[in-house]
């Protein structure tokens, strides 16, 4: 099948992926000059007049990136230090095909490919450069995030039907292979229905079954500045070959705009008929003071154990999540056109201290960012960052400096250099007070070559338990 519900791609998929990949490129290159330009223009044009002459328009991007990482490690057999290297090739293709003239159909695609170039890996023991890309036991794998056909206005009240792999973003982000439909009744009421085979991009195929999900969302706008939503999401997940998990979530939401300077939302959710959580969010812009304020409050009522993959709080790895509440305050202030200051505080507090466990703790974080733009001269910027978080037995501090420069006569080519310092303080077992210092230095740059093509490169050096070097070289073509 072209669309497998585990997101991991078969040989047949690769063949079709490459076919689409090169068809897309061919269309982009062959449809040169005015025809392509008009199509591209339509995608961006507010009135679509120029693009309306085209039957089909296409926009998107293709990017490729080569990544080389290296470090040193001890050979477990000889206990002699040796250098190891890992090289990967990444590709990403995303495009949207629309029909400006009739607006009858549209197609959206987003996918990535990754190839391990060196084959270095040791899944039986620790390998310092191993990551999730090495867990497939194949050198190449890919992810298909979006490949759906949209049919616009097929029936009265049915504004769009979407078929294929797609994301549902109404409440919890979910991916599925299936069908979604949007209905609109007047200007006050929208109804979305969706469902299909759930897509889990990192499932281990050995014991997970065919999961399904379905949902509905209703939006009602009784007034210009007020909106209500009601969402229902049902997920059936095969945790093992013999155990199925079915979770049903109901979500009630209210959005309210207060003038042009404040927006707020309240979301209350039920999971399997029990109250699950409530979230309050306020974003306020104080224009005369050039300030923006974000306030977030969240409270989880339930103790969360095993749930379907889309709803799980990582019970399988971190254990249960006990009831807690969190406060999140962020403030940003612009001082003219040259200075920006961001300040934030986050606090997570368990409802009962006795519920504290190794992976479920009280937690707080403070961050500060100061940015100087076009100072001391045009095209140069400085960014200073600081962060501190703490939880019982753990502390983390970091600070960083980034200097960026945009070149004047090179189509806005840019280069950034910077460094970060992180200090982890933690106590294992007997209050040993271990400390880990991590110094990171980097340089990266981007050179637009014109016509949507750019080349980017970066080098990063991490001085930590191991010393890592990472080199990246990539290109991107926006069409």
């Amino acid at each position: 099948m072209f669309l497998k519900n585990n997101g991991i791609l078969s040989r047949r998929f690769f063949i079709r992926f490459f076919v689409i990949f090169f068809i897309g490129l061919s269309v982009s290159l062959l449809d040169a000059g005015s025809s392509f330009a008009a199509a591209s223009a339509q995608a961006l044009s507010p009135d679509g007049q120029s693009g309306a002459e085209k039957q089909v328009a296409m926009d998107g991007y293709l990017s490729t990136r080569y990544v080389s990482r290296s470090t040193t490690t001890f050979d477990p057999a000889t206990l002699i230090e040796k250098k190891v290297n890992d090289q990967d090739l990444f590709g990403e293709l995303r495009f949207n095909i629309t029909m400006p003239k009739t607006n009858r159909f549209e197609f959206h695609f987003s996918g990535t490919l990754r190839k391990d170039l060196d084959g270095n890996s040791d899944l039986t023991g620790y390998y310092p450069l191993e990551d999730i890309g090495n867990t497939y036991r194949t050198e190449t794998h890919g992810y298909l995030y979006d490949a759906h056909l949209g049919i616009n206005d097929p029936l009265p009240f049915l504004t769009q039907a979407r078929i294929g792999r797609q994301a549902g973003l109404r409440d919890e982000p979910v991916f599925f292979d299936g069908l979604a439909t949007d209905f609109r009744i007047g200007s006050l009421l929208n109804l979305t229905l969706y469902g299909g085979a759930a897509v889990h991009f990192y499932d281990t195929d050995t014991h997970w079954g065919n999961d399904t999900l379905g949902g509905a969302g209703l939006d009602i706008a009784p007034a210009r500045f007020t909106k209500f939503s009601l969402d229902y999401l049902s997920i059936k997940s095969a945790l093992t070959t013999t155990i199925d998990q079915q979770d049903n979530m109901v979500s009630l939401k209210l959005w309210q705009s207060i003038g042009s300077f404040m927006k707020a939302s309240v979301k209350y959710r039920y999971l399997n008929s029990d109250p699950r959580d409530v979230g309050v969010r306020v974003v306020s812009t104080i224009a005369p003071a050039d300030m923006e304020l974000n306030l977030n409050y969240f409270r989880q009522f339930r103790r969360e154990n095993e749930l379907a993959n889309e709803l799980s709080l990582y019970d399988a790895v971190l254990g249960q999540s006990s009831p807690y509440q969190s406060y999140d305050v962020k403030l940003r202030k612009l001082f003219g056109t040259h200075y920006a200051v961001d300040l934030g505080y986050f606090k997570r507090a368990l409802q009962e201290e006795s519920q504290t466990s190794a992976f479920d703790r009280d937690f707080s974080r403070v961050f500060l960012l100061i940015e100087l733009m076009d100072l001391p001269s045009d095209r140069i910027s400085f960014t200073l960052t600081g962060e501190q978080w703490s939880t019982k037995g753990r502390e983390y501090h970091s600070s960083g400096l980034d200097i960026g420069y945009r070149f004047k006569n090179m189509k806005n080519a840019s280069v950034n250099v910077g460094t970060y310092y992180s200090l982890y303080k933690y106590d294992y077992y007997n209050e040993l007070g271990l400390r880990e210092n991590v110094h990171t230095y980097y340089i990266n740059g981007k050179v637009p070559l014109g016509k949507g093509v750019s080349i980017n490169s970066s080098y990063e050096y991490e001085d930590s338990l191991e010393n890592y070097q990472t080199f990246k070289l990539g290109m991107r073509y926006d069409f």
Binding site: S45, V283, F359, R394
Partner: protein, 182 residues
């Protein structure tokens, strides 16, 4: 293996060559009209957020550490049906970025050390992009730093320490088989 080594080399070469051919082979004038057309008016609708395609500078709100702030704004502006984000961004920009653009702190040290610290107190942050299967896959298939050399002989003293629950991240059965009594 899904592919043979030879065929994968061929495909890889094709990708690389196609990429770099694009870098140097785009014909002049290909997008001139597009540039001219888009420069005339600000874009509205499902336009991709492509630097250079949007003919006006970033709004002031996007300066500084906007990445810290964008979630709340997007939640209120996108879901509520407001169109402000969609002036420049496509609707699927969210999933594209959250699946393919790791944050700056996701370094090699993050991979081997610090992600566990963060997850201890703030697993909710992980939910922004990751689902449980991501954790399970890696922890099921790869071995941690401690599992080297004489780990088999050392693991008793590492595991049987009060308060050490890190073994349970991967080993759900206690004790994991085989587990002979010494």
């Amino acid at each position: 293996m899904i592919f043979s080594r030879q065929s994968m080399k061929k495909y890889s070469m094709i990708i690389v060559l196609a990429g770099f051919a694009l870098s140097v082979g785009i014909q002049p004038g290909l997008c001139d009209k597009a540039s001219a057309a888009t420069a005339a008016k600000p874009p509205v609708g499902a336009a991709a957020a492509v630097p250079g395609k949007i003919p006006f500078p970033l709004p002031d709100s996007h300066k500084g550490g906007w990445i810290e702030f964008h979630g709340a704004s997007a939640g209120l502006n996108l879901i509520a049906g407001e169109q402000s984000c969609l002036t420049c961004h496509a609707r699927n920009d969210c999933i594209s970025c959250h699946n393919t653009r790791p944050p700056r702190d996701h370094t090699n040290t993050w991979r081997t050390l610090s992600h566990g610290f963060m997850a201890e107190g703030n697993r909710e942050r992980c939910l922004t992009c990751h689902r449980q299967d991501f954790c399970v896959r890696c922890h099921n298939e790869t071995a941690p730093r401690s599992h080297t050399g004489s780990w088999l002989a050392r693991h008793c003293t590492e595991c049987h320490v009060p308060g050490n629950s890190s073994c349970g991240v991967c080993h759900k059965k206690t004790p994991p088989p085989p587990h002979p009594v010494l």
